[in-house]
Symmetry: C2
Subunit: 397 residues, 2 copies
């Protein structure tokens, strides 16, 4: 049995480079960017009016002029115009190109417009209300680095530089496997000694949030059929997530079976609760990574967030999240193991406080729905004190 830090680091050491692919812009939403994005031209690409009003040459004001003849009206989408007489003005709309021979925009709120003339009603400043060409970025500037998660803001940037196709990290092909003869389909009415498959439904939903459409397969506790199916699965997928079949029971064939299929055990059993019987390995020829989680709902759910998500982030080139919360109450940790305790968090004046969620052992699914995540409490002699900052693993985002 190894400790949690060792297990966590071993999992990360086995991250995969799954490769990159080109997808269209809307599909890139939520994916990880695999190329740096440069400005294809200056932004803004021209001196752009930021208000509706008039464009003037400020020299006219310096000469004492306060009333300007309107030469024309310029709207967004029109080519650049030229102010013919620098004592005149042109009406200009937000987003339009400031005309040649003009250098200042004055909004309608500062003007009286009558009979083709615009009269100043306020003091103005030379150059005001113009968003100058290249003032945000100049052509060639890096706008987005690679290895960032693409969201709505990034989509806006990608659109503005014309990336109708985007290079992103491929997502792993994931197979989620349930084991155990006691499991029946969600749509079935279980017999008294049976239960419905909730773990794989939950894992499937969690993977969907990562934009991964997993394949779900159920294996009956039968060595022969498990062997045959696993052989195929290991060839087809990048990652296999198993739930159940890894404790010490007589029908827990998985570790043995894995080794016979040349999946190298990296470790089995971690000094943690929940999730102690976690088995982790890699098929060395095909580089298939196998996460074999304990079958209890809380163990599976916790292990997915504790191990699989950081593995996925590393494989995609993303930074790990480091979240910390403050303990609302003190906790004693007696055993020489790392504990993951369900909590509900609350933002109070900018600090994140964590209240323990009552949970009833590792079979209690409902408590997970009432938690925001797990706090991670490493083994130590003294109790964790109220107000102490501790590491937090979110399960709600």
């Amino acid at each position: 049995m190894i400790n949690f830090d060792e297990a966590y680091n071993l999992v990360l050491e086995h991250s995969l480079d799954i490769g990159i692919e080109k997808v269209d812009l809307p599909t890139s939403n939520g994916r990880v960017l695999a190329e740096a994005i440069l400005a294809d031209r200056d932004f803004p690409p021209f001196d752009r009016a930021t208000k509706d009003g008039i464009a003037i040459n400020y020299a006219a004001i310096e000469k004492g002029l306060k009333n300007f003849k309107i030469e024309a009206v310029i709207s967004a989408g029109m080519p650049q115009q030229k102010l013919g007489d620098s004592s005149n003005c042109m009406e200009i709309m937000t987003g339009a190109v400031v005309p040649e021979n003009a250098d200042t925009v004055i909004m309608y709120e500062y003007l009286d417009i009558n009979d083709g003339y615009a009269a100043l009603t306020k003091e103005i400043v030379k150059g005001q209300d113009i968003h100058h060409k290249g003032s945000d970025v100049i052509s060639g500037t890096v706008l987005l680095d690679k290895n960032v998660r693409i969201g709505a803001a990034e989509i806006g940037v990608l659109a503005s530089v014309g990336k109708s196709e985007v290079l992103v990290k491929k997502l792993p092909k994931v197979c989620v496997i349930s084991t155990g003869n006691e499991l029946v389909e969600v749509s079935e009415t279980p017999l008294p000694y049976q239960i419905r498959k909730s773990n794989t439904a939950s894992l499937f939903a969690a993977l969907q949030m990562q934009l991964i459409e997993a394949e779900r397969i159920h294996l009956k506790d039968n060595k022969e059929s498990i062997g045959k199916e696993l052989t195929h699965i290991l060839k087809t997928f990048d990652v296999v997530l198993l739930s159940g079949g890894v404790s010490k029971g007589k029908f827990d064939f998985i570790p043995e079976m894995m080794e016979s299929l040349e999946v190298k055990k990296v470790f089995h059993r971690v000094a943690q609760r929940p999730g102690k019987p976690f088995w982790f390995g890699i098929q060395e020829t095909q580089k298939t990574v196998v996460f074999s989680f304990p079958g209890n709902p809380v163990s599976t759910f916790a292990s997915y967030h504790i191990y699989f998500l950081p593995w996925l982030r590393k494989s995609l080139g993303l930074m790990q999240k480091k979240e910390v919360v403050l303990l609302e109450e003190s906790i004693e940790v007696k055993l020489p193991i790392t504990r993951f305790v369900q909590v509900k968090t609350q933002n109070r004046k900018g600090a994140i406080w964590a209240t323990l969620v009552r949970e009833n052992g590792s079979g209690d699914l409902t408590s997970l729905a009432h938690s925001d995540g797990f706090i991670c409490l490493g083994p130590r002699e003294t109790e964790y004190e109220k107000g102490e900052p501790v590491a937090f693993i979110s399960t709600k985002s």
Copy 2:
């Protein structure tokens, strides 16, 4: 012009009840539950072994017995068995039903097994390692309340009680409209005075995160065609998000056009920056809600998060998020308006600190990609101080 609090409350007052629908379990992921979920039976549904080992009758230990003859092996998925002789034991696997006439489970780690007998090697406690029938919840207990967002944990609960179909809140039909003759498609190479459509791409992506597949429509600045298209749009959609066309320019027909289509203006212009020219209205016959955002990228993006998302949450029956962060530096707010300032946040020892993101006016799209959200600074005489808690609107989740 109204102030921000008034505008925010008016938007929420116009939330819509869009109705409910039944979807299959995997599709319910990320949606809002529209029914309370009850336990359809006790959980666990039987006295369930939580370890692999043996099941015994504790009375035998009280009589001094330490070595138990193994009567049978019970695995998960088998009907309940009966321990024939209370001096004997049965091997039992995690997840299996504890046999009649047994009350305690002892894991293999505490046993020596030889020649059909299991000998105790440790002290044990009566009733240990059994997850008792109904100890998590009894049949009929409410497991999930309605009006919660369904995530992976909730999917697990729904699966366990057999909800292969789930009643969820309908999502609104949303139309995202861009306006302005200066806009060209993302795939086009713009002329010097043109720019690509980034706002609607960004709004579309943001709505996708809410599981809303919006329709995107572009309107040229032409009164007649705008009128015709808007008439159809107002009949077809629950919500219309417009970007641009609401400031004081000569080609900003939208407010006028809306009123001619019997869309009642609720307000136009808010004492805030960015986003001042925001126009909000409702078509009273069809109850179509119209958010007409200013056309600048930062204004559109900010307004979507400040107004539309809370409106959506209210319409779906979700609680509003109340996030607070601590200011990393002091900020002066001179004008009598509410300011929304882009920040990057950092969790330091459980407190969330916000650093201002350099932004270059409301045209600067790139800054949005480098921000985690906006802090909301209401107008006041004194500066906001370093370390002060302020309201925060996340744009990254």
